[in-house]
């Protein structure tokens, strides 16, 4: 049993037509296994988080009780994208496991919504948000290495507190970005194979082999999103992550959580941190 389904084209060429649908179950079970292993690790093996204390980070300065984290625009984007993603996953895979309904129309409409929201996000994040805050930097890598050494029992300096996003969060975003771009790019081309309102059908856009690869890539990215979604939802509902999840709903997190996990020098909250930076002479 392979991971791809193959067929013979009218020209006698052996071409891939899509992924083997057993990968749906592989992705589902993979996500659930990650969830179980991580939960066991956190419950029985993980140590308490420790951060280096920065003597210059006097925590008595006048931070507001609620620290703004996500703007209304950013939150709306997130939830629209999430809704589109769930519709895409259900419309893509429920028919494959025996639940039959008219899925194609809902699927391309949700795909269009996702594409538009992602395009908006790229512009919004590039010009209106702190673009680099979601990308791993040198400090993230240094601190990750320190955490790994300490996990292995070596004595090393404590890692710093996180910037706005922990490294894991940044890496997850990177994987979702790559997977999302793959599924969107292939999905847009696949819309040429069905009837939509956007362009006339043109199944001759590519050769059978190229079309096959487009379908395979779309399928692989699609089942990848099954695992990624499970992982995302799992972390969103973990007790220690709830303040972050709540901030995606209400837009802010408590001052206590902010000071406990985040470095005000690395995540500069508008207004307050600016004043502190000036006071620190940065």
């Amino acid at each position: 049993m392979g991971i791809l389904e193959w067929a013979t084209s009218p020209l006698g060429q052996r071409v891939p037509i899509h992924i083997a649908w057993v990968l749906i179950w592989v992705a589902l079970i993979g996500g659930l296994l990650f969830l179980i292993v991580h939960a066991i690790y956190v419950r029985y093996f993980a140590k308490e988080k420790e951060f280096a204390t920065d003597p210059s980070s006097a925590e008595s300065l006048d931070f507001p009780a609620r620290i703004p984290r996500h703007s209304l625009t950013a939150r709306l984007f997130h939830w629209i994208m999430a809704a589109a993603m769930f519709v895409l996953l259900f419309t893509a895979f429920l028919p494959k496991v025996g639940i039959q309904f008219n899925w194609v129309t809902y699927h391309w409409i949700a795909g269009t919504a996702l594409t538009i929201s992602i395009l908006f996000h790229i512009v919004h994040a590039s010009f209106y948000l702190d673009f680099w805050s979601i990308w791993p930097d040198r400090s993230d890598l240094e601190d990750a290495w320190k955490r790994f050494q300490r996990f292995m029992g070596k004595s090393t300096a404590l890692p710093r507190k996180f910037a706005k996003y922990p490294l894991e969060n940044k890496l997850y975003h990177g994987v979702v970005m790559l997977t999302g771009l793959a599924v969107i790019a292939t999905g847009v081309f696949m819309m040429f194979r069905v009837r939509t309102i956007f362009f006339p059908r043109n199944p001759y856009l590519f050769t059978d082999m190229t079309w096959g690869m487009v379908y395979v890539l779309h399928g692989l990215a699609g089942v990848g999103f099954i695992t990624l979604t499970i992982v995302h939802v799992y972390f969103a509902i973990r007790p220690e992550k709830l303040p972050i999840t709540a901030s995606m709903i209400i837009g802010s997190m408590s001052r206590e959580f902010y000071l406990k996990e985040h470095d005000p020098k690395r995540w500069i909250v508008n207004g307050v941190s600016d004043r502190r930076s000036m006071a620190d002479g940065d």
Partner: protein, 338 residues
């Protein structure tokens, strides 16, 4: 693609003598089994070596699936009853003439002697791209070869095309829908009686099947209620060769009239979509109206709303419009004013 005709792949042939045995065999074999009724659809698949079932369950030895019986509230036709028997049965001819006429117009006398009503209702589509074994949507692939700018699609769908544009080729299906027939299907959950119009499946719901039959399921009978017995029926089939062909389009209707007023009606068409279509909107629009050319013309126009022609089948739109008009107003009234 090389097609080796007439050399069937090997399979285990089972010839059960009871419905329960047949069902057990089908359930045991699952997706590996193919049901053989009259063989007029199945044998093509086998000889072309497109379908290679491990198990063939031949229903021809099951007497309880044969024959036409009057039951309380109607008539029951065993699924293995031949089309000739349906067409010639005096009860069917007298009370449910639309079904007799539909059965009589299927293919040729030889085929009607061999073909069964269950097989005619459950047969696969005749789209040649699909039947040639090409990896189209219906075969589990990712393309419809007929719905392309140069695809040969003269016989294909004008309605409800959803990736696949194949059509259902049954003549008896629209007649059964017009008569409000119920199909008796044995499933893993027991016997179910399903409205004729709900027996058929379009590609939007399942692109690989024409009807609700899954592996292990078996159509055992067609029950025609007496509701429409003796009604004013109409059946018309258009085909390229009048002596022997699949429909380019067919229409079946059952009508109750009071004087010139249409009291009630059921009307269905086939070969315009992947499933036979009951035209409920048309039924609602003509109920209570005078049965005349104007009503028929309006109904015909309504029937084809939403139809989208392919490259080579635009003729089906006026054809369907006119057949619906003829079914409602009668052939004499059906000349178009414009």
């Amino acid at each position: 693609m090389a097609v080796i005709r007439d050399v069937m792949p090997t399979f285990q042939l089972y010839q059960p003598s009871s419905v329960s045995d047949a069902q057990k065999l089908l359930q045991q074999s699952g997706e590996d089994a193919l049901v053989l009724a009259g063989g007029l659809d199945s044998m093509d698949w086998l000889k072309d070596r497109i379908k290679k079932p491990k198990v063939l369950v031949d229903l021809s030895g099951i007497d309880e699936l044969k024959g036409i019986r009057e039951i309380a509230g109607g008539v029951e036709i065993g699924a293995m009853t031949t089309l000739t028997q349906v067409a010639q049965n005096p009860v069917i001819r007298q009370k449910y003439g639309v079904l007799a006429e539909a059965a009589e117009l299927v293919a040729s006398p030889q085929i009607r002697n061999q073909g069964t009503i269950g097989g005619n209702l459950s047969q696969d589509t005749r789209c040649w791209y699909y039947r040639a074994g090409w990896p189209c949507y219906r075969a589990g692939g990712n393309i419809c070869y007929a719905d392309t700018p140069v695809g040969r699609n003269r016989e294909h769908a004008i309605l409800e095309a959803e990736r696949c544009v194949a059509v259902n080729p049954s003549d008896t299906a629209p007649a059964c829908i017009a008569l409000d027939a119920k199909f008796v299907v044995l499933t893993s959950k027991g016997q179910q009686e399903i409205d004729a119009e709900h027996y058929f499946v379009g590609p939007d719901l399942d692109i690989t099947r024409m009807n609700i039959l899954r592996s292990g399921y078996l159509l055992t009978a067609v029950r025609v209620p007496s509701t429409w017995a003796g009604a004013d029926f109409y059946f018309e089939k258009i085909r390229d060769r009048n002596v022997w062909d699949f429909p380019l389009l067919n229409v079946a209707s059952a009508m109750r009239n009071s004087g010139d007023t249409i009291q009630d009606i059921r009307i269905a068409v086939n070969a315009v979509a992947a499933r036979p279509l009951r035209l409920k909107v048309v039924e609602d629009s003509v109920r209570g109206k005078q049965r005349n050319a104007a009503t028929g013309e309006a109904a015909g126009k309504l029937a084809v709303q939403g139809a989208v022609p392919l490259q080579f089948n635009a003729y089906k739109i006026p054809l369907m419009r006119n057949l619906v008009k003829r079914a409602i107003s009668g052939v004499q009234e059906a000349a178009w004013a414009s």
